[in-house]
């Protein structure tokens, strides 16, 4: 019998503004995770991602972007978070899909890739590493400072069998 995959683990649609969305106690029964984030039109400037409550200087990432008139690259080493919307002017109306590979492994640092598309501004492909060999049990998607995700923003987490 085929193994169920692309299994919905959690989902939230905001009915009031929020600065953070947490997926906690993530099932350890899958091989990879997929997170799909679609901030609403009233969302603010940032779309950051952290795992397991880790901040500090544990994240390294790079991305490439096209904005319709030029191509750009971004890189940030030993920083406190992944930045999923660099240079596209904000999170409103973006689509962001994040892949977490081998998230339960305890013998490797954690790697992610992501695509962010914001039709009014550009398209981004990114990849990054979190320096931890711990299994991922929590994901936080967040805005910075007083910025918020608007009402109607959606956040959905799926498990991929493997």
């Amino acid at each position: 019998m085929p193994t169920p995959t692309y299994v919905p683990l959690a989902n939230v649609t905001l009915t009031s503004t929020a600065s953070s969305v947490y997926f906690s106690s993530i099932s350890q029964s899958y091989r990879h995770l997929v997170l799909v984030v679609a901030p609403s039109s009233t969302s603010d400037t940032f779309l950051y991602l952290q795992m397991n409550g880790i901040g500090g200087s544990s994240y390294t990432w790079g991305s490439m972007m096209g904005d319709g008139s030029g191509t750009y690259v971004n890189q940030n080493m030993s920083t406190e978070t992944f930045d999923l919307v660099p240079n596209v002017g904000g999170a409103a109306n973006a689509i962001c899909t994040v892949n977490f590979f081998d998230y339960t492994a305890t013998n490797k640092n954690k790697a992610i890739t992501w695509r962010t598309d914001r039709p009014s501004n550009g398209t981004i492909q990114g990849a990054g590493t979190l320096t931890t060999t711990g299994a991922i049990t929590q994901i936080r998607v967040w805005e910075y400072g007083t910025n918020v995700f608007g009402i109607g923003s959606t956040f959905a987490l799926y498990g991929i069998a493997g």
Binding site: N11, G66, D67, S69, T71, N93, P119, T154
Partner: protein
């Protein structure tokens, strides 16, 4: 217990006569997101030709920004006022034989009452200097739920063995906290 959430709604394979488009109509409104995957080749006498995606038979309200590689360079462009979302340049009859272009498009919240954003990527390989990879951020500025998807060729027909599949993705519930 959680179950599968990615369901095949419909799939089409082009026969010997070719086809100018793929159409998925009367799309069930019971899923959360859509994923469209197609593998196509066109009959026109060029190496690559555009592939377009249109919703609900509407020919207005489309815009996009693209990042692409050509095998020898990179570029980015933006388009507005189009009649469809351009998904990339697909293999056509003058490109390497038996080689088809793969496109994946993701459409979140397709039944919602907001404008429809899309995320897509395509790969058109060839045993030649020029080959394409596209990343496309697309927008259909229309608040209607999507009930129809048409994928169209721009130079001749889609040739035999071209395929297109439509998947529905269903969200879960709960499991997240907000602050």
């Amino acid at each position: 217990m959680a179950g599968e959430t990615m369901a095949l709604i419909s799939t089409v394979t082009v026969g010997a006569g070719g086809a100018s488009e793929f159409v998925f109509d009367s799309i069930p409104q019971t899923y959360t997101d859509l994923m469209i995957v197609h593998s196509t080749r066109q009959s026109g006498g060029v190496s690559f030709a555009g592939v377009n995606t249109q919703f609900n038979s509407s020919a207005t309200g489309y815009s996009s920004r693209r990042l692409y590689g050509t095998g020898s360079g990179t570029a980015s462009d933006s388009q507005s006022g189009n009649s469809a979302i351009p998904s990339g340049d697909a293999n056509a009859s003058s490109s390497t034989s038996n080689t088809y272009t793969t496109v994946t498009m993701y459409v979140p919240n397709y039944t919602g009452s907001t404008n429809k954003s899309t995320s897509s990527e395509s790969v058109s390989e060839a045993n030649a200097t020029t080959a394409y990879q596209f990343m496309v951020a697309g927008l259909w500025a229309n608040t209607a739920a999507i009930t129809r998807v048409a994928i169209t060729s721009t130079n001749g027909n889609f040739v035999q063995y071209s395929t297109a599949s439509l998947y529905g993705i269903l969200k879960g519930s709960g499991g997240a906290t907000v602050s």
